[in-house]
Symmetry: C2
Subunit: 446 residues, 2 copies
């Protein structure tokens, strides 16, 4: 019996479950062009309303993996591990984690992304480094991971072409926000990458795609379930994105923050180390990677190893090695913005709320991100975040320092930032940076 | 501000209402090709889940009307009236109603459709008449209506092109079943046709698209509301499609049934007139058209006029005139099938249920309808329905006589028909043919 796309759409519209063959028919047909975009778009929207079961999501993931090439890392005694973040503002941990974990002996084949919506992307950040090449071919990528422990590139056309095509369609049909579709997209890429372990940083809050810890938990659990179904060692952290991570949001400035941390520097301001959260999150995620990679017996030992690798300069040397391996120009320096502006506090009190998405969008106004896929990025543009949630501020005190290559972008960015901070009479209840960890054994809070 | 299709899809996905400009943007953009099929498909599926408000449905209807040409019938002292049926099995009333109503002095500009799914179409039936041309251009159509009172053609490309394109997309994306989309499609065509009055035959039951009287009532009320919004005189009947209408389902055979009724003939079998329901429904619908067309003060007077026009042969003469006007060959005869088969009762008892959709699908197996849009029809193929609901039958007694041009189609059709009738120990509760009438004043049952 031949399957009719319209019948499968109707089935999902009614809330019925597909079998494996039906999912394969849709994904293969769509990738080959036999199932046209308009039928896939209708099916995707039906999925947004009716969702997919765990089994359907697993089959979808599998079909996307097998739509292209898959990598494998056979390194004796080693398990390749990657990290994936669902995206945030100032979320720069990959630049610390990749060299740190690789320095600990865990191979890290990292396929990263570009900025999406108001969130930044690892590839854009790395390209702030003059000469850095994120478009290595798969052979060069594999060779670097095997020989030097890590490399960071973008998704190539050979990896999960079905996901590439499906994602592009979802983007223009308002069908991005669907937990099973998000999960299948993330997991198919990571599984095709050939890792044996995966650490997920699932963010929630005003600067994340998931607004609440509850939503993030559902997403994280589904991701962990798919990973386990495919035999992956996997763990997920639910982390707060109620304020930008660290001191900076942008490209050049975020690379600088990471280089500082890798060199053991802090960023003291008013008795607070503004690098503390970036460092803490990086250490927690890297330590989990060491455990999954079999390089440490438990998180505590792994954490101690990571701290030592930061202290000794081994992680910093690995970072410089990555840059060299991927074409950074000898003696490179990060670009600096020619213009700056400051946004000050409209009143006195405590920083009660930061609309973190607005901070990300202000970064786009400055040129640090893209409005449309074809936009060029100003790598030197960015925002220095001068206050943290709960901090006491006086009227007129600087809240943000803005950096850009052009002065005319400050008006729009300033307007967004001015409305992004709420000053209240008392400090808000503190939100821990790391809300919970989800492992095979369950959910562990704190 | 320019509108983004993806934003509008997202809005509908969230269940928010569009304004008039947004609906216009989508329909115009889709018709011109600026809004691609895949975005429209996602929007349509979101509409299936979230529905449209009365206002949105009215705007959609209006946009579709104005996507093409609109007709107008300015005939002194006359109001042009049409009838629309939501489709059934053996539903042939248009062939009686058009000549009958025109003979009463009401202009009937009838734009009819082809078979859809398991239901038959007026155009396919008329084409069983050798030479009958349903593809007149709009000028010829208008001229015939003005000069002779009626003509029956198919929807041309000039009328509601947006609906034509949207309907084709809905058909392949499982987005047909949506009350606002169905209503906008029906009403835009009828309003563009230039009628001042419209009688709707909204069917429910095993042979209709709406399975229950409740669903049909919702659809009918929405249709009446849109019609009134556009200044149309409109009324809707909710009629039962729990068994095929009349004695025959097919093309040639249905035309023959109508010709018999127009000539005052009955079809007695076991003390029952198998034409009674076709005649009764035609009279009720035609009488309502006379009232809307201002040719009768009330339904009772109108009914008497219609009965007299049947009795006198005036309606029959008008039917022959229509055939002549639209190119039927002089001395034409309906095609007759070369082969026949019989399906008998598997047991003794009462006809407790007829799965009417299966009867329609059996007709398609015989060649009386299409599996795909490009299929050719065997106009002589059809089914003679030998029993009515509640009738007492003996084991082995014929239930259906099948007619076709080829013998090899009988196996599939017989299998469907054998399972379409349930014989029970007692007759089912009788379902009245006409369940209710919906007018501007409300719902009137019986």
């Amino acid at each position: 019996m031949s399957l009719l796309p319209a019948e499968l759409i109707r089935k999902k519209r009614r809330g019925e479950a597909h079998d494996r063959g039906e999912i394969e028919f849709l994904v293969r047909g769509f990738t080959s062009g036999e199932v046209p975009d308009y039928q896939m778009a209708a099916w995707l929207m039906a999925v947004c309303f009716r969702s997919l079961s765990s089994a359907e999501t697993a089959w979808l993931t599998e079909c996307m993996i097998h739509s292209g090439q898959t990598l494998e890392f056979k390194i004796p005694g080693k398990i390749a591990v990657d990290k994936h973040s669902t995206g945030g503002v100032g979320d720069k941990t990959s630049l610390i984690i990749a060299p740190l974990t690789a320095a600990a002996g865990v191979p890290v084949p990292m396929m990263a992304g570009r900025g999406l919506g108001h969130t930044g992307g690892t590839l854009d950040k790395l390209e702030a480094i003059p000469g850095f090449n994120v478009r290595l071919n798969l052979d060069a990528f594999k060779k670097l991971v095997v020989e030097t422990g890590t490399a960071i590139i973008g998704q190539t056309k050979e990896i999960c072409p079905a996901d590439l095509k499906l994602y592009a369609l979802r983007d223009v049909t308002a069908t991005i926000d669907s937990i099973p579709l998000i999960c299948a997209s993330i997991m198919s890429k990571k599984l095709a990458e050939g890792v044996g372990g995966l650490v997920l940083d699932v963010k929630f809050g005003s600067g994340a795609f998931m607004k609440t810890a509850q939503e993030a938990e559902v997403l994280a659990k589904t991701l962990v379930e798919i990973g386990r179904f495919h035999g992956l060692k996997i763990t997920a952290f639910l982390t707060s994105m109620e304020q930008p991570l660290g001191r900076f949001a942008g490209n050049s400035v975020e690379v600088q923050e990471c280089m500082d941390i890798l060199q053991g520097r802090t960023c003291e301001d008013g008795g607070v180390d503004f690098y503390a959260d970036t460092r803490e999150l990086s250490l927690r995620l890297a330590a989990a990677m060491l455990v999954l990679g079999g390089q440490a017996a438990d998180a505590q030992t792994a954490r101690a190893t990571c701290e030592e690798l930061l202290r000794s300069g081994a992680a910093w040397r690995k970072f410089r090695e990555i840059c060299e391996n991927q074409g950074a120009k000898p003696g490179w320096e990060l670009p600096r913005a020619g213009h700056e502006a400051v946004v000050t506090s409209p009143g006195s009190g405590y920083v009660a709320q930061i609309l973190c998405e607005e901070v990300g969008l202000a970064g786009i106004e400055l040129g640090a991100g893209r409005r449309r896929a074809e936009d060029e990025i100003d790598h030197a543009a960015g925002i220095e975040v001068l206050v943290k949630l709960g901090q006491k501020v006086e009227k007129g005190q600087p809240l943000f320092r803005l950096l850009a290559g052009r002065k005319d972008v400050f008006a729009g960015a300033t307007a967004r930032l001015a409305k992004s901070v709420r000053i209240g009479p008392k400090p808000p209840a503190p939100v821990p940076l790391i809300h919970a960890q989800i492992t095979e054994q369950g959910v562990f809070y704190g």
